[in-house]
């Protein structure tokens, strides 16, 4: 049975998501019946499945919720906000239970019981044992010798597919059977309709047989026949009809305390799954493309074969070969794109967590918030999506907690009472961009700056641009909430959000206008395996710089160079100073050229820091496949992986943020972007402080 568990869990979690979604969108005063039906069906399915697969606790709990939903859908119960809220809580309980069954751990007995109580209270006194029509007044009577059965099917009984002969056979299995047919009702042959039943039988069944077993044979046709079962009385004593008390076949199995399955803590979230659902259209597309590949291969095979038999160089043959190769390139690219799309799922899977979150949080914080989601169909890699969920949840919490003001504050500020949180996702370049914007209070720059100064992150006299100040919120230890509300700021800070996003190869930054709101902009690669890169030459080696990190490439003009304490170089790029990183030095490669004039500098950004990397040459921009250095070797600082170039050689992929770290560690002060000139003797660099 266990082989079906995986599917059951998957579809149940999906069902719970559907329930939750519909519940959240339910218009209490004017509920859509189709919606209620959908919710009911999901609960019903989960109940049925969990009963079948032995997950009794869920079956039992869900039954109560299902009863409530049943009443709601057939109109006997009004749909109230209270009911919806309790049902939402039930969804949470069911999710937790499913997780416990799936991953092990202990059931949250108290919470589950509490929510169940709420459901039962709502249902009324008979709550838990409602609709208990499974009661059969079973007469526990056993005749010692047998039974006389009179079976007279109604005319239409055959039309339900019930076959008297089958029933006879079933009876024959219970004991010795003797059957006498009564054909008195048969019409004339001419008038006989073969679909009608006009026969009846007198059956004698001898043996030590339980009446229940006989009743069971006719269970299905109870209403479609006349049935009499009388015991064969042989002895003088007649066994009195003992009316048994209704053995209540409670449709809820006895509450069993689920033993803790494992000592491991129950995982709260769904976690990663090892399987993925793929639309069949994507599969068909790949099949087609592979078909084309096969054709191209045949074509190349032929062209190559032809050429090898030729003794001389043949122009046409060469062209054919080149044509074939071009086609191969097309096929490969198309297959690559197509296959990558398999791992892509719409971001709605992540966005779907948000409505519930907003609903709960706005309630808790007494704030009014409207949620707008755009671009839900934008697709991204499944693994990236699974990992972006938590950071996004944190950002939403943050927006509701610190961003959007209370209704009173908003009105006082001349804003509408209800704040708006907007989620927007779209593709840009080879990346997916997720914007989380709110029309709240924005980031209090003064508070952030003061905190940063107090922490020593920023010098007392250092001036920072607005963007730089806003970016400070991503530094660890900089939570500026007056009191750490229990909603956010619980050790899961913005720095963790940035770290997590960075580990996915992405970036996050914030733009804010005080009083008006803030936008968090997350950029993520579409896939973890492929990178858009700029090939550069450093010394005799080729490196790959991720395009997403590159701001621009320029030629160094010595006039714009300056030094800090004689050690580092700074470059004046328009109105800011960026540190100059010599790639050859960072990587300890031999280099004799210390002159920087007219050298190529790639201006990059990593983790909010800008820098300029000196390279020897800019080569092509191309998509590269990321190969792990750690599989057979180990992690190298400043290098995020390797790739294999067209000529078969290995090129290392630069980790920009890592390189900046190494640069810092080599004894150079933090290269934030100061506007005031560095202390030095370059008088022409003197600028007024901002």
């Amino acid at each position: 049975m266990e082989q079906f568990h995986q599917t059951f869990f998957e579809e149940s979690f999906e069902g719970l998501d559907i329930m939750e979604n519909e519940l959240l969108n339910l218009d209490v005063g004017n509920a859509d019946n189709e919606s209620i039906n959908t919710i009911f069906r999901s609960a019903h399915s989960i109940k049925g499945g969990s009963g079948t697969f032995g997950f009794t606790a869920i079956a039992e709990f869900t039954h109560v919720a299902e009863t409530l939903l049943d009443e709601m859908r057939d109109g006997t119960r009004q749909i109230t906000q209270e009911a919806v809220d309790i049902l939402l809580k039930s969804v949470d309980v069911m999710r937790d239970m499913l997780n416990v069954y799936k991953d092990g751990g202990e059931m949250n007995e108290d919470t589950n019981a509490a929510v169940q109580k709420e459901l039962e209270n709502l249902l009324g006194a008979e709550g838990a044992s409602a609709s208990n029509e499974g009661n059969q007044a079973s007469e526990q009577q056993t005749a010692s010798d047998g039974w006389h059965i009179s079976f007279h099917p109604h005319v239409e009984m055959l039309r339900t597919g019930n076959d008297p002969v089958r029933m006879m056979y079933a009876l024959a299995e219970l004991g010795e059977i003797e059957v006498v047919a009564d054909i008195s009702d048969l019409p004339a042959f001419v008038d006989l309709n073969p679909e009608d039943s006009h026969l009846s039988w007198k059956i004698t069944l001898t043996g030590d047989i339980n009446k229940d077993d006989i009743v069971e044979v006719f269970d299905w046709v109870e209403d479609e026949c006349d049935l009499e079962i009388e015991p064969i009385v042989n002895k003088s004593e007649k066994i009195p009809d003992a009316e048994d008390t209704a053995t209540s076949n409670s449709s809820i199995p006895a509450a069993t305390k689920e033993p803790a399955e494992k000592k491991s803590p129950a995982k709260k979230t769904g976690g990663e799954t090892a399987s993925i659902r793929v639309g069949i259209d994507k599969v068909d597309e790949i099949i087609n493309l592979v078909g084309e590949l096969v054709i191209t291969q045949a074509m190349l095979g032929q062209a190559g074969g032809d050429m090898s038999t030729d003794k001389e160089y043949n122009e046409t043959r060469m062209e054919k070969l080149l044509e074939g190769l071009a086609q191969l390139e097309r096929n490969t690219r198309e297959i690559q794109e197509s296959v990558m799309r398999i791992r892509m799922l719409p971001i709605s899977f992540v966005f779907s967590r948000v409505p519930r979150l907003v609903h709960d949080l706005s309630g808790k914080l007494n704030k009014k918030v409207d949620l707008v989601t755009l671009g839900e169909g934008t697709e991204l890699d499944k693994t990236v999506m699974e990992k972006i969920g938590d950071p996004m949840v944190h950002l939403v919490r943050n927006a509701l907690d610190h961003g959007i003001e209370t209704p009173e504050q908003r009105i006082a500020a001349g804003k509408p009472e209800t704040g708006t949180l907007t989620l927007n996702a779209y593709h840009k370049g080879g990346n997916i961009v997720i914007e989380l914007s709110d029309d709240g209070a924005g980031i209090n720059k003064e508070r952030v700056l003061n905190k940063a100064r107090a922490n020593g992150l920023v010098g007392a006299n250092e001036e920072l641009s607005d963007d730089a100040i806003n970016d400070l919120i991503f530094h660890p230890g900089l939570s500026t909430a007056e009191a750490l509300s229990d909603v956010s700021g619980r050790g899961v800070g913005m720095d963790v959000v940035r770290k997590n996003i960075k580990s996915l190869g992405g970036s996050v930054r914030v733009k804010s206008t005080e009083g008006e709101g803030a936008i968090f902009i997350i950029q993520l690669p579409l896939t973890l395996a492929i990178l858009d890169g700029q090939l550069v030459k450093v010394g005799s080696e080729t490196f790959v710089v991720p395009l997403v990190s590159i701001i621009e490439s320029i030629q160094v003009k010595s006039d714009n160079l300056s030094g800090i304490a004689g050690k580092a170089d700074l470059y004046k790029l328009r109105n800011e100073y960026i540190p100059v990183i010599r790639a050859d030095h960072i990587f300890n490669m031999p280099n004799d050229d210390s002159q920087l004039e007219n050298r190529l500098m790639v201006v990059v950004e990593g983790d909010g820091h800008k820098a300029g990397i000196i390279v020897d040459d800019l080569l092509a921009q191309q998509q590269v496949v990321i190969k792990s250095l750690e599989t057979n070797y180990q992690r190298v600082d400043g290098i995020s992986g390797a790739t294999i170039l067209g000529d078969g050689t290995v090129a290392l992929i630069l980790d920009i943020a890592g390189m900046i770290e190494i640069y810092k560690e080599k004894g150079v002060p933090d290269p934030t972007t100061p506007v005031t000139p560095p202390e030095g003797n370059n008088s022409d660099m003197a600028e007024e402080a901002a």
């Binding site: 082989q3 579809e11 019903h44 109940k47 046709v221």
Partner: protein, 120 residues
């Protein structure tokens, strides 16, 4: 070998039913709702139809009615999957023309026993 059409919107239930019945030597075809089931039933023939009641697009009761309207399925055994507590569902099924019912939750043995009872 007898062929069975199993209809349920729950994939795990379908899997379980198919696995159990195929293991006993029956031919099993799956459908995820009444609409799909009706379509499949029209272009193939089955000795038995087992259907869940609550399904989107077309529920089991309606499916039963629709099947009975087809000449090929006038007398084919049709069983509905119902929960113990809903006698009205059992009756609704019968009124729609179902042969009988299988009570949920059921284990594979119960399923097999019932199928045998019906198919012989």
């Amino acid at each position: 070998m007898a062929s069975i059409l199993a209809v349920d919107d729950s994939a795990s239930m379908r899997q379980m039913v198919t696995f159990t019945l195929k293991g006993a030597g029956y031919d099993v075809t799956e459908a995820k709702d009444g609409v799909e089931a009706l379509q499949i039933a029209k272009s193939n023939s089955y000795n038995l139809v087992i259907t869940d009641v609550n399904m989107p697009n077309m529920d089991g009761i309606t499916l039963t009615k629709e099947l009975r309207a087809l000449p090929a399925y006038k007398f084919t055994p049709i069983l509905t999957l119902t929960t113990e507590s809903s006698t009205d569902k059992k009756m609704a099924g019968k009124q729609a023309g179902a042969t009988g019912w299988i009570v949920k939750p059921f284990n594979p043995d119960q399923l097999l026993a019932t199928v045998k009872k019906v198919l012989g």
